[in-house]
Symmetry: C2
Subunit: 116 residues, 2 copies
DNA sequence: CACTTACGTAAGTCTATGCTTACGCTTCGT
DNA sequence: ACGAAGCGTAAGCATAGACTTACGTAAGTG
């Protein structure tokens, strides 16, 4: 039952600041304020980034007193990774196959092809 | 001498349509028109996507007569893949380490921690 | 019960971006 | 030389999105 597709996570990761945030909450569980202090932007901006990451299931949230602690979710990261692995594999495999075919064609008849 | 960072390629890939285009030009060298015909958008829109992909070095362009043929560039795809591999590795490794530390703490003293 | 701390959210702004139509440039066929 | 084919680019538009300030809320503190 996976309603969120890896694609949402990919879009979330495309943002440099969110990538940085995800790195931070991979190293340690952090509060929104702690994260915001390490950036030049205001705290609400970070809250909004955290919401995107949370909606993409890339981070989990836990309340502790007045704070909210965020941490990266390895499962979703692994899913996104797998999704992209398939993407790379499909691309690179077919590219390699195409290059080899071309190489064969080139060597079979000595004249250069595709002059059209 | 790599002026273009993998990050640009990542942003390019974040767009669903561009991911689809990249898949297509991995399977076969295609002209802009051929690509556009497979989408519901106009040809200029595809041209603009192709420009983004080209600037990210994800596709190469070759002129043949009045056409321009596009093809995925395996090198850049591999670079982006490597960049992300590092990202996953760093995230997942530290997450695993943190989880283990926590597990140790939890088992060392029987009571639950972090009540604050 | 105030007051403070630590937040999220709403509203508004500015920029980026994905799209369209209009146009101009090459290259090929005749 | 001329029209058509195949593109890229410019300009304009509408939407998304990354910010800001202002405000509201829940949980500790005195």
């Amino acid at each position: 039952m996976l309603t969120l597709r890896p694609v949402d996570a990919l879009a979330a990761i495309a943002e440099p600041r969110r990538r940085e945030i995800l790195r931070m909450v991979s190293l340690a569980e952090l509060s929104a304020g702690e994260i915001a202090r390490r950036f030049d932007v205001t705290r609400p901006a970070i809250s909004q980034h955290l919401r995107v990451l949370k909606e993409a299931n890339l981070v989990s949230e836990r309340k502790s007193g007045t704070k909210r602690l965020y941490r990266a979710r390895p499962e979703t990261i692994a899913e996104l990774r797998a999704y992209l692995e398939d993407f790379w594999d499909a691309s690179l495999r077919t590219l390699k196959a195409a290059a080899e075919q071309e190489e064969q064609r080139r060597s079979r008849h000595g004249r250069r092809h595709e002059s059209h």
